[in-house]
């Protein structure tokens, strides 16, 4: 076997998919923790959120983590496309009748589509907040970039596209939820981490994570929109 056998193998592509996916799960937790500060009302909430945004964009360790996150997102997407193309090639002639629902969950059969929805959301999401925060013209508050006001204005009835933004955000979180429900436990399986005692725990955690995290994410713009009505 050649030295680069591991990198060429189908299994390595799955290890990479699992590692980047599970790393991005930890990113989601961090991101969510920050976002939850948007529930704090008034000036106190504004200050806390802006300080958090400042910390996330300037603190060196976080910067390293953020580059790791960008790389993970890219690898996860590219690897996913490469795997999907290979899988398509493995069955050039499809079945006339195929009953996929008889033997596998819907999310496990639609990871590519769900991932694509998340990727499209990500582009719009980063354009709206990440790009503006890093390179755009930002309002200032107490010497800090006022991301809080930008977020509130975006998910506001005052914004002509505010409602669409809220609905789009919630739908993207729904796609993320289905993606995570399969992806979380699938990542462990791909890495060979399976045990009669721990796998049921991993599966339950996957469900909790896959439903809980997107639900909390989605609740924020809904809350912001309703409170600004």
């Amino acid at each position: 076997m050649s030295n680069n056998g591991l990198l060429k193998s189908s299994l390595a592509k799955k290890y990479l998919m699992a590692l980047t996916g599970l790393f991005l799960c930890t990113f989601l937790l961090g991101h969510l923790a920050g976002n939850l500060q948007l529930f704090i009302s008034g000036g106190e909430g504004q200050q806390a959120f802006n300080e958090y945004a400042e910390f996330m964009t300037t603190f060196p360790l976080v910067k390293i983590l953020s580059y790791l996150t960008y790389a993970s997102v890219l690898f996860h997407i590219v690897d996913g496309i490469v795997l999907t193309m290979r899988n398509r090639k493995s069955r050039p002639v499809g079945y006339v009748k195929e009953k996929g629902s008889a033997n596998a969950s819907w999310s496990s059969r639609n990871m590519g589509i769900l991932g694509t929805i998340i990727a499209v959301f990500l582009v719009s999401h980063m354009q709206t907040f990440w790009y503006k925060m890093h390179f755009g013209a930002m309002p200032m508050h107490e010497g800090l970039k006022d991301l809080h006001t930008v977020v509130l204005a975006f998910f506001s009835p005052e914004n002509s596209l505010g409602l669409i933004a809220v609905v789009g955000y919630v739908l993207a979180q729904l796609a993320l939820s289905f993606h995570l429900v399969h992806g979380f436990q699938s990542g462990f399986q791909s890495l060979g981490l399976r045990h009669p005692k721990y796998t049921p725990v991993i599966e339950k955690t996957g469900y909790l994570f896959g439903i809980g995290v997107p639900l909390l994410f989605a609740s924020i713009p809904v809350f912001l929109y309703i409170t600004q009505l």
Binding site: M1, L11, K13, K14, S90, G94, V96, A102, N103, A104
Partner: protein, 249 residues
């Protein structure tokens, strides 16, 4: 029972193929699915046509030859059964049944419902064995102690009959369940240890070379497997391959 069969017909590997509809009447609910196909062929031959080519051998669920994708599922709607163990009582009078060959680039259609599964043989040849000298005094199997749970697990991996239902059911035409069962049946036993690392590497490499797809852990393979091969085998192979690759040969 009166049935309408939609059967895949393909003259040879190069033919494009098409679905063909055949009404069959007087089917007994006690017939096996293959006996019903025999009946169909008898009818086709009497009408002067070319009978439907299909693979079959033991007709008792142990040879793994009867590869048929029936109504959207490998070996039809039953669980833990091959096509020969599927009985017509699983269907209703007046049913329309779609019958197709396994679909995978690694399993080319030979004719009609018969596919070439020699890709599996080549995977076995690449490492699915234990190199022991059998010409001299063979050791008594019981001389090497094997814990009972380990022996049971190895045995259940070894019950894989290589029918290809896992590949046929997988949306990616992945052979991970088959290969992992064949890797595991040795990896779980003391006799399999000396070649454990090289075996998994060679077999995975051959699996990739044959053009099977990637595992996306949908679990469809294990649901459709007539022998109930468990997904834990796939995890074991993922683990072993990672370890073997990290260690180098």
């Amino acid at each position: 029972m009166d049935l309408t069969l939609n059967v895949w017909r393909q003259n040879g590997p190069e033919d494009k193929g098409r679905m063909e509809t055949h009404p069959v009447s007087g089917v007994s609910p006690d017939m096996s699915f293959l006996e019903m196909i025999d009946m169909l062929n008898d009818q086709i031959i009497r009408d002067g046509g070319d009978p439907v080519a299909f693979d079959h051998d033991c007709r008792e669920g142990i040879c793994g030859m009867c590869s048929m994708f029936i109504n959207g599922e490998a070996h039809g709607p039953g669980r833990g059964v091959t096509t020969c163990q599927l009985h017509m009582r699983s269907f209703k009078d007046g049913d329309s049944i779609t019958i197709e060959p396994w679909r995978a680039s690694a399993f080319p259609v030979v004719k009609d419902l018969a596919v070439d599964r020699s890709a599996f043989d080549r995977i076995i040849q690449s490492g699915g064995y234990v190199s022991v000298n059998t010409s001299g005094e063979t050791l008594d199997a019981n001389a090497i102690p094997v814990p009972k749970p380990q022996a049971d697990e190895a045995f259940s991996a070894a019950t894989c009959i290589g029918c290809g239902a896992c590949v046929a059911s997988c949306k990616n035409a992945s052979a991970m369940l088959f290969v992992s069962a064949k890797v595991s049946q040795f990896a779980l036993l003391p006799q399999g240890q000396p070649e454990r690392a090289s075996r998994v590497k060679r077999m995975v490499e051959q699996m990739d070379e044959e053009g099977f797809g990637n595992c996306t852990n949908t679990g469809a393979c294990a649901v459709e497997c007539p022998k109930g091969i468990d997904l834990s085998n796939i995890a074991r192979m993922n683990r072993d391959f990672l370890k073997a690759s990290a260690e180098g040969e």
